[in-house]
Amino acid sequence: MKTLVQEAASELPGVKSFLPRTLRAKLLGLVLGTSLVALVVAITAMVAYDLHAYHQGWVNDVATQAELLGQTSAPALAFDDAQVAKDNLNLLRFRPKIRAAAIYNAKGALFARYLAEGEEPGFPALPEADGTRVDKRDLIVFKRIVDHGEIAGTVYLRADYELYPRIIDYAGIALLVMLVAMFIAFLMSSWLQAIVTRPILAIGEVAREVVTQRDYSRRAEKLSDDEVGVLVESFNDMLSEIEKRTRDIESSNHKLALEIEERRRSEVEIARLNTELEDRVRERTLQLEVANQELEAFCSSVSHDLRAPLRAIDGFSQALVEDFAEGIPEEGRRYLSRIRVSAQRMSDLIEDLLNLSQVSRAKLAIQPVDVGDIARQVVADLRLRDPDRVVDVSIWEGMQADADPGLLRAALENLVGNAWKFSSRADKPRIEIGVLRDREQSTFYVRDNGAGFDMAFKDKLFGTFQRLHSASDFPGTGVGLATVQRIIHRHGGRIWADAQVGKGAVFYFTLAGDDSEEPSPSVERAS
């Protein structure tokens, strides 16, 4: 209460820097300040009106009194009877506020006079002009006596003028009234301000609780239907919104957490499966390798074992022809010759199979190689073996690659050998060995203008023992392209072909890790 009073006092004008801090004190100050201003204005107006009325009334009263005295005393003046005039003036003893009075005759000489009890004597020597004036605390009135159109004399009245004592009295009353009124206003507003402040303070309290306890389900109580009530509703709506949002966020967070957990579990599961898969692959690979090795060992031993009887068949067939040439008829020699050709073919086949098996087993020794150099050696071998053929061979320069030189040579022997073989019936046989480069890798190719093949069978091209031409047209075992494919695959590359029947074929292959420079095409011609 004491602080309220102090704060309310600070609300008075000229104390701006000490505005009260609480809403209650501000309201109280507002009410008291407003009441004070209203009171001061009202009291001032009333006092001003009253003083004005007093002044007017008293001046009129005294002036009227002067007029009456004048009229009454006119005969006395007319008939020069000072005693009558004095008697008239003496009637003023019933008007104690009139302290002194006098009548002057027409000449201006004092004719009769009157003094209230205890009043100091003192009269103007000569009458002044008609009128009233206030001299300090006296109201002084001069009034001409006009009798039958002639001035008979002048009345002089001196009365108490109590304007200033009245002002002081009023100031005292006003102070008292204001004190009482302010005290009552203070009590009433102390009591009534709760109507305004309670809902607002309640909102503040709820807001504080919401912040500290993070409990968005709290609601402020609506205590009135005024603006504060609207504020409470808005505040509650806001809380509802926040509560809803918070709930949404929490639920979405929860969902996200669940999803993350799920994903983490899936990842663990995947990792586990991967590990398992890898293990299984390793296991299978091992099994496969073992099986392959067994198969190849079997194949190798079978090949070796098959060679011996073949050699015997061939050798004894030859011996028969040489040793018993006369004893064998022509037809028999022809049979023996065919036996020997078949044995030779079988031997070639076994050789190829052994090669294929070796290609699969041999360890890779990757190193930088010049594909062109190897191709030239291969072509040179072919020319040596078949010196009658005239083939136009062009090989690009600078075809660098990383590969196993032995295996690459085996692949090229097959590819270039095929080209050599299938172009044998062309008018102008031509073989081109080159490279196509793009940003990622080099694609080597071997092109010929020979027999070609039907693209419908391209799937079978690289199969073991698959032949697209009859052995009578072009001799072969059907193992060569299978060997080439295996070599290319072992290097991590790819092989494919493009062909047209009668127009020639192109075999493309890539070698992984190849990164050679752009070659400058140059043609090596053989005649």
């Binding site: 008939f79 027409a106 002009a129 008609d130 039958h148």
Partner: protein
């Protein structure tokens, strides 16, 4: 009043001067100067007119003057003429008439009978009894003869007494304010 003053100042000066004259005359009676006494009495006579109301039928018409008859006091009559000097009473002119014994008095409004005419006063007063003529005398015995106003000199000052009975018997009304300044007022039943 401030506005009133300048416009009426000349008239004021004139009136003040005249009243001064009256007062000065009053003061001069102390020397026993008959001239001065008559001057005051003349002024009083004129003033009486201001406090007296005559019935309308006592005048011939609305413009008829108030006629003052002076019997046996020609000096006073002269003073009165000077005092009146063109002034009016209640809108009527004031005419002064010097009377001799036997002159008609019935058409007068005010009659002054001086000491010189006192011998014939009884006849005149009785003739005017009940008529609207205010009678003024300056004799001690005049009241018993039916006079209305009688001048006396007290302490060298002119005073007057008023007898109400003859006033009431005539239809004349005398203002109570005049009674207020009379030295003595004789009641009706006197």
């Amino acid at each position: 009043m401030a506005n009133f003053m300048p416009t009426f100042f000349p008239a004021l000066i004139r009136l003040v001067a005249m009243l001064c004259l009256i007062v000065t005359c009053g003061a001069a009676i102390a020397q026993g100067d008959e001239q001065a006494e008559y001057r005051v009495k003349a002024a009083f006579l004129y003033k009486f007119g201001e406090y007296i109301q005559w019935p309308e039928d006592s005048f011939a018409n609305a413009k008829s003057p108030i006629t003052v008859g002076v019997l046996g006091a020609d000096k006073l009559a002269d003073e009165l003429v000077r005092t009146v000097g063109g002034r009016t009473l209640g809108g009527r002119d004031v005419a002064v008439r010097k009377l001799r014994a036997g002159d008609p008095v019935a058409d007068l409004q005010l009659l002054f009978v001086g000491r010189a005419g006192v011998e014939r006063v009884a006849d005149v007063l009785s003739a005017l009894k009940g008529r609207a003529v205010v009678t003024v005398t300056e004799s001690e015995r005049a009241f018993s003869l039916g006079s209305m106003i009688n001048f006396v000199v007290v302490d060298d000052k002119v005073r007057f007494d008023i007898a109400l009975r003859p006033v009431e018997e005539s239809n004349v009304k005398i203002s109570s304010r005049l009674l207020g300044v009379a030295r003595k007022v004789l009641p009706r039943a006197a």
